[in-house]
C-alpha cells in the first residue's frame, strides 16, 4: 500500500526483494496495491485464491478478513518476537488491540496518530495560550476567530475523514466512545452527549469554520500552509506535509476532558498474514524480517506515521524532529483506538471507520443544525443498522 510518496513504495519493494530466506523458507515478491478501492481489490483476490501471503492494508482490514476466515493468526510471530527482543522494543499499546479471542490478527508496524497542532505566531497574535483542556480550546478558538483566522481546523468533505476522527476522539477524550468494553454499541450516554454538546458549542461560537463540513484535506492543507488557521487536529508530521518546517507549526499537548480524562486517538497500521499462503512458516519468517527493516523508512523519512518500536524513536533521524519526539512522549502512552472503551478492534470497527453512520455523525456536528441528543440517536441507529 502507498504509505508515502513513490520513494516509500520503491523502498518497500527493495526491502522485500532483498529478503534472503533461511532454510526451506520461500522468497517473497512485492506488489503495490493502490488505496482506491483497496478493499474490493483484496476481497476479490482472496475470494479467487489469488491474494497475497502477507500484506499491509486498511486499519481494520485484518479484523474483517479474520471474521471471514481468511487471516492466519500471528501468535507464533509474537512468540518469536518475545525471544528476539522485538516484543520488548514495542511502544506501549500498539500490540494489544490485535489480540482477539482467536489470536493476534495482525502485527503493528506504524501508528497514525491524531495530533493537535497550533501555529505559534497566530496564537501569540490572538493573545491566548496553547489549549490544554476543553475550556481553553473554546477560548482559543474564539480568540483566533476574532483575528480573522479559523479557530479549530477540521473538515468532513469528500475523502476527508479528519472530522470523523476528531468527533470520535472527543467522545473518547470524555471517557465515552462508541463501544462498551465488550464491544457492543454504546453511543447514547451522558459522556458522549456532553462531548457532542461541546463540539456544537465550538461550531456555534464560530471557532470552527461554518464551511468545515465541506473541507477536503487539500483545503485544510492550504489553511495550515497559508496561516489561515491557528489550531486543529491532523496526523503526525503536519509541518512536513504542508511544507512549513520553520518551527511555527508546533505539536500541542493532548487535551484534558471536563471529567479529567486525557486521551488521544491513534490508528495502528498493521501487517497481516493470510491463510492462502504457499507456506505459513515462510510468511512468518518474512514478517519478522520485514519488521526488522522498518527503521530504514524513518531514517529516510519515507512514511507519515510514527514508529511502533522504541529503538526507532531513539534514532538520530527521528529525534531531530522535536514535534515527533513530543508526540511519542505525550500522545503514545495515552492513545486509544476506535475500539475504545474496549481494547481489541473487531470487524465492526471497520464499519465504524469508513461507514456512513460516522460520516453523517461528524457532518451533523459540523453543520451545527441539530441538537446533541438527536445527533447521537441518529448515529446509534445508523450504526446498529450497519454492524452485525
Amino acid at each position: 500500500m502507498p504509505w508515502g510518496a513513490q520513494a516509500y513504495s520503491d523502498a518497500s519493494k527493495k526491502v522485500t526483494e532483498a529478503y534472503v530466506p533461511e532454510g526451506k523458507n520461500l522468497k517473497a515478491a512485492w506488489q503495490g496495491i493502490q488505496w482506491n478501492n483497496f478493499y474490493q481489490t483484496f476481497a476479490s483476490a482472496i475470494a479467487s485464491k489469488t491474494g497475497p501471503a502477507v500484506s499491509t492494508g486498511g486499519g481494520f482490514q485484518a479484523y474483517q478478513f479474520a471474521e471471514q476466515g481468511a487471516i492466519a493468526m500471528a501468535d507464533d510471530v509474537v512468540a518469536t518476537m518475545k525471544t528476539n527482543g522485538m516484543f520488548d522494543d514495542l511502544l506501549p499499546g500498539v500490540l494489544e488491540g490485535f489480540k482477539t479471542k482467536d489470536g493476534y490478527v495482525a502485527l503493528p508496524w506504524q501508528t497514525d496518530m491524531r495530533v493537535y497542532w497550533y501555529r505559534k505566531s497566530l496564537l501569540e497574535k490572538a493573545g491566548v495560550a496553547v489549549p490544554t483542556d476543553w475550556p481553553s480550546l473554546l477560548e482559543a478558538g474564539k480568540a483566533l476567530k476574532k483575528i480573522g483566522v479559523i479557530g479549530f481546523c477540521t473538515g468532513s468533505g469528500a475523502g476527508n475523514f479528519l472530522g470523523n476522527h476528531w468527533a470520535v476522539s472527543m467522545l473518547i477524550n470524555n471517557g465515552g466512545g462508541v463501544w462498551t468494553p465488550e464491544g457492543d454499541i454504546d453511543v447514547v450516554n451522558d459522556r458522549n452527549q456532553e462531548a457532542v454538546e461541546f463540539m456544537l458549542e465550538m461550531v456555534s461560537a464560530g471557532a470552527i469554520d461554518p464551511g468545515a463540513v465541506g473541507f477536503t484535506t487539500d483545503n485544510m492543507d492550504a489553511q495550515w500552509k497559508n496561516s489561515k488557521t491557528g489550531y486543529g487536529m491532523f496526523g503526525a508530521y503536519l509541518p512536513q506535509r504542508v511544507g512549513d518546517t520553520s518551527g511555527d507549526i508546533v505539536a500541542a499537548p493532548p487535551l484534558t476532558g471536563p471529567n479529567g480524562d486525557k486521551t488521544a486517538l491513534q490508528f495502528v497500521n498493521n501487517i497481516m498474514m493470510y491463510k492462502n499462503t504457499p507456506d505459513q512458516a515462510s510468511s512468518e519468517a518474512f514478517v519478522i524480517y520485514y519488521l526488522q527493516q522498518l527503521k530504514g523508512y524513518w531514517q529516510q523519512a519515507l512514511v507519515g506515521g510514527l514508529p511502533v518500536f522504541k529503538s526507532i524513536t531513539e534514532l538520530p533521524e527521528f529525534t531531530k524532529d522535536p514535534n515527533a519526539v513530543q508526540i511519542v512522549k505525550d500522545y503514545s502512552p495515552i492513545a486509544k483506538t476506535f475500539a475504545a472503551r474496549g481494547t481489541a478492534s473487531t470487524a465492526n470497527t471497520a464499519v465504524l471507520d469508513g461507514g456512513q453512520a460516522l460520516n453523517k455523525f461528524a457532518q451533523s456536528i459540523l453543520t451545527g443544525k441539530t441538537d446533541a441528543k438527536t445527533i447521537l440517536n441518529d448515529f446509534a441507529t445508523g450504526l446498529k443498522a450497519a454492524v452485525k
Binding site: A158, G214, Q356
Partner: protein
C-alpha cells in the same frame, strides 16, 4: 416500376417469379442453410454476452438474496434485503435526490445543449473554436473537473463565494449547506453533460431542412413559432433518445457526486448509486447494497420503456 414492386412483393413472401414448386424447395433449403449460418455466427457473440453480462447479473442476484460479504455469499435470505432497503428512510431520501438530480441533469443539460446547438447553427465567427471549447466539460476527466469545482466553491475564500460577496449576495458555502450542496451537484452535472446534449441536438438540427424555415418565414411565423412548430417536432425522436441516454447516465452517475461531495453533507447529495456503493464498500452490507442496485435497474428499465414508446410515437407522427 410495377414489375419491380411486384417482384419485391413476391420476394418478401418467398415466392419465386416462376412460382414452380422445385424452385420453392430450393429457396426453402437455402433459407434454412442461411439461418443455420446466421445462428452459427451469432452463437459466439451470444455466449460472450451471456458470460460478460449474464454471469455478473446472476451473481448479483445471488448476493441480493443472501446475507454474505464480497468473499462469501452467506445464507439465503429471500427478499429480506429488499424489504430492509425499502423500509429504510435513507433509501427513500437517496431516491428523492436521484429523481431531482436526474430531472435537472436531463432537462437542464438538454436545454443548455440545445441552446448552444441552435446558437452554433448561426453563422457566428469562430464557430469551430467555440464548438471545441464547449466540448471541454465533457472531455475533461471528471476527477479533474470536480477538483476544479471544489477549488471554485469550497471555502469562503474561494472565487465563487467571493464573487457572490462582491455582488452583495453574502458568502454562500456551497459544500457546507445541504441545500446549496444539492444545487451545486445538479449544476455540476448540467455543466458536465450539456456538451453531449449539444452534440445530439446539433446532429438532429442538421437534418432539418432549411427551406421549412424559409417557407414558415414567408408565411409570417415568428422565431418562437418556428422553434416550437418546426424545430422541436422534427428533432423529437433524437431528443427522446438523448433523454433516455442521459437518464441512464444520471441515475448511474457515481463520480460526479462522489468526487465533489461524497454524498454529503449529512447525506444531502446521496443518490441511489452512491448509497449502494457506500452500503457495499463502506458499511460492508453487500446484500442490501446490491438490492438497491437491482431496484435502480428495474426503475431504469421502466423509464426507458416509457421513453421508448414516446420515440415510437414521435416516429409515427
Amino acid at each position: 416500376m410495377t414489375t419491380l414492386t411486384g417482384g419485391l412483393s413476391r420476394a418478401r413472401r418467398g415466392i419465386s417469379p416462376g412460382g414452380h414448386g422445385g424452385a420453392r424447395r430450393r429457396t426453402s433449403t437455402l433459407k434454412a442453410q442461411t439461418r443455420r449460418t446466421f445462428l452459427g455466427m451469432l452463437v459466439p457473440s451470444v455466449v460472450l454476452l451471456i458470460l460478460i453480462n449474464g454471469y455478473p447479473l446472476v451473481y448479483a442476484a445471488v448476493q441480493a438474496t443472501h446475507d454474505g460479504s464480497l468473499i462469501d455469499a452467506g445464507s439465503f435470505v429471500g427478499l429480506d434485503n429488499f424489504s430492509t432497503v425499502l423500509a429504510s428512510g435513507a433509501f427513500w431520501r437517496a431516491a428523492r435526490f436521484t429523481l431531482i438530480f436526474t430531472l435537472v441533469g436531463v432537462f437542464g443539460s438538454w436545454a443548455v445543449g440545445l441552446a448552444f446547438a441552435l446558437l452554433l447553427r448561426t453563422r457566428i465567427p469562430g464557430r469551430g473554436i467555440f464548438k471545441v471549447l464547449l466540448l471541454l466539460p465533457w472531455v475533461v476527466p471528471i476527477v479533474v473537473s470536480s477538483t476544479a469545482w471544489n477549488w471554485l466553491v469550497a471555502t469562503a475564500d474561494s472565487p465563487v463565494p467571493r464573487i457572490f460577496e462582491a455582488l452583495g449576495l453574502g458568502s454562500p458555502l456551497f459544500l457546507a449547506d445541504p441545500k446549496l450542496a444539492a444545487v451545486l451537484v445538479c449544476v455540476f452535472k448540467v455543466w458536465v453533460s450539456f456538451p453531449f446534449m449539444m452534440m445530439m441536438s446539433a446532429g438532429a438540427l442538421a437534418a432539418v431542412d432549411d427551406t421549412l424555415y424559409e417557407a414558415a418565414s414567408i408565411d409570417g411565423a415568428s422565431s418562437w413559432q418556428q422553434f416550437t412548430q418546426i424545430t422541436l417536432p422534427l428533432i423529437a425522436r433524437p431528443t427522446y433518445i438523448s433523454w433516455i441516454l442521459m437518464t441512464v447516465f444520471c441515475v448511474n452517475d457515481f463520480p460526479t457526486i462522489y468526487l465533489l461531495t461524497t454524498g454529503g453533507p449529512v447525506d444531502a447529495t446521496t443518490s441511489l448509486v452512491v448509497y449502494a456503493y457506500r452500503s457495499v464498500f463502506q458499511d460492508f452490507q453487500t446484500g442490501p447494497g446490491v438490492a438497491v442496485a437491482f431496484l435502480m435497474t428495474l426503475t431504469l428499465v421502466v423509464v426507458s420503456v416509457i421513453l421508448y414508446r414516446q420515440i415510437r410515437r414521435a416516429h409515427v407522427e
